[in-house]
């Protein structure tokens, strides 16, 4: 009788690095800091994810893609993916790799620092200039703002900071 190999969490994490944000396909859910916990038991896998914005329509797609990606592993039988609210997802969970990959997509990563009055600054996602203006704090998706670079004269987007301190 063949004994099937049990699943290792490392193998699951490797797969999760390939699950991309459906709206920003240069960043993975690992880059975004959405993966809170991966547990395995024999051939079964459970993944706990943190939702970014509550009304984000990509969440259900991410859940589906996560399940499908893990099921590609031959040693996996059952996959469960759950969203939890605690700890709350904040933009400082986005990794260095995530910052790099956001820039590659033309989106300025969220600022690390927010002023006491809640204002914040990012540099142009394209040319790196600091000479930018805020066009609209709300953007094409819940997590993004629209800015304009006065140096390279491009409109660009930034991921807006989300923090429990706001």
């Amino acid at each position: 009788m063949a004994i099937s190999e049990s699943v290792s969490t490392n193998r699951v994490f490797e797969v999760l690095r390939r699950v991309k944000d459906p709206e920003i396909d240069s960043v993975s859910i690992i880059d975004l800091g959405m993966v809170e916990e991966v547990t395995t038991s024999g051939n079964n896998v459970k993944v706990v994810l943190l939702p970014t914005f509550l009304g984000c329509p990509a969440l259900e797609i991410i859940k589906k893609n996560t399940i499908e990606a893990i099921k590609q592993l031959p040693e996996v039988e059952e996959v469960e993916v759950e969203f939890v609210f605690h700890p709350p997802w904040t933009t400082d969970r986005i990794t260095e790799e995530g910052h790099k990959n956001l820039r590659a997509f033309g989106i300025a990563p969220p600022p690390r620092h927010v002023e006491e009055d809640g204002s914040w600054h990012v540099d142009c996602a394209y040319c790196g200039s600091t000479y930018v203006t805020m066009e609209n704090i709300f953007g094409p998706t819940a997590c993004r703002s629209i800015l304009y670079c006065k140096s390279c004269k491009n409109v660009f987007e930034a991921m807006k900071p989300v923090s429990t301190l706001l």
Partner: protein, 270 residues
């Protein structure tokens, strides 16, 4: 989640359920009325901002309905789409039409009204959400932390509009002041906890009604002072209390429209 559910007494569960319906129905109707501005907002940036705020708010409603589902109150989508008006617990303000006319025909909507409604509602929501972060019901407290972070941007947006229009032309000021009167006329049930008030307060699910009102007034005071205006009074007497399922015909009309697609194929996957 099921472990939490099991230890709740029937009375405790009823109090939580009752409060969750108020929060869910409020954001659901607020988001629906906001979505009626799509393509009609004063300029393109506002169209983007308004729809983003409506989408966030719908997400908040969906999350509260999900908490209700986990408490065994029914399927979240059905709770949102299929409950008749008399079972709804939203405040009267959130169900009001945006103005005369109909979205598909000749919408003669009132932007001043939308600004005042949104600013006062968002500020009230902030007061509640701040309090809910300390709720004795842990799943609700955790959800409130999420809502609070997104609400930060909504509140800032509506406060900017509110201050700018009230510092603008005489026409704008008149429209805004008329809107304030109309909004306040419907504000009597905003902080009402309905007929489960005693249980909701006893279980420390949220601050009591008086405290919530006080915090709302304190939160808008600086803005009114800067505009040299008096803080409006929250009416004591209510024609209808939405928290007890008493509503206007505006809600019937809204429910008919918003559930039309859902009802056309209830088993469809969205």
């Amino acid at each position: 989640m099921s472990a939490t559910e099991n230890v709740l007494t029937a009375e405790h569960k009823e109090a939580i359920t009752s409060l969750l319906f108020q929060l869910a129905d409020d954001d659901f109707l607020y988001a629906y009325r906001g979505s009626e501005w799509l393509g009609l907002a004063p300029h393109i940036e506002e169209d983007v901002a308004s729809s983003s705020i409506s989408q966030d708010s719908m997400g908040h409603a969906a999350m509260y309905y999900k908490l209700l589902e986990e408490l065994g109150a029914g399927n979240a989508d059905e709770l949102a789409h299929l409950r008749p008006a008399h079972e709804r617990r939203n405040s009267i303000l959130t169900e009001r039409v945006n103005g005369e006319g109909y979205y598909m025909e000749t919408p003669n909507y009132d932007w001043a009204y939308q600004v005042v409604r949104s600013y006062f509602y968002t500020q009230a929501k902030k007061v509640k959400v701040d309090s809910l972060c300390q709720s004795s019901y842990q799943p609700l407290a955790e959800a409130a932390v999420k809502v609070k972070m997104e609400l930060y941007y909504h509140r800032m947006h509506w406060e900017t509009w509110f201050k700018q229009l009230l510092s603008s032309t005489d026409v704008a000021k008149k429209k805004m002041n008329d809107a304030i009167l109309r909004v306040m006329n419907d504000f009597g049930d905003m902080f009402s906890l309905g007929n489960q008030k005693q249980a909701i307060e006893n279980y420390k699910l949220i601050d009591n009604e008086e405290k919530l009102k006080e915090n709302w007034i304190a939160s808008i005071k600086p803005v009114f002072a800067a505009l040299h205006m008096d803080v409006p009074t929250i009416p004591e007497k209510l024609a209808n209390n939405g928290r007890n399922g008493e509503h206007t015909v505006d809600l019937d009309e809204a429910l008919l429209t918003l559930s039309e697609v859902y009802k056309s194929d209830p088993v469809a996957s969205w």
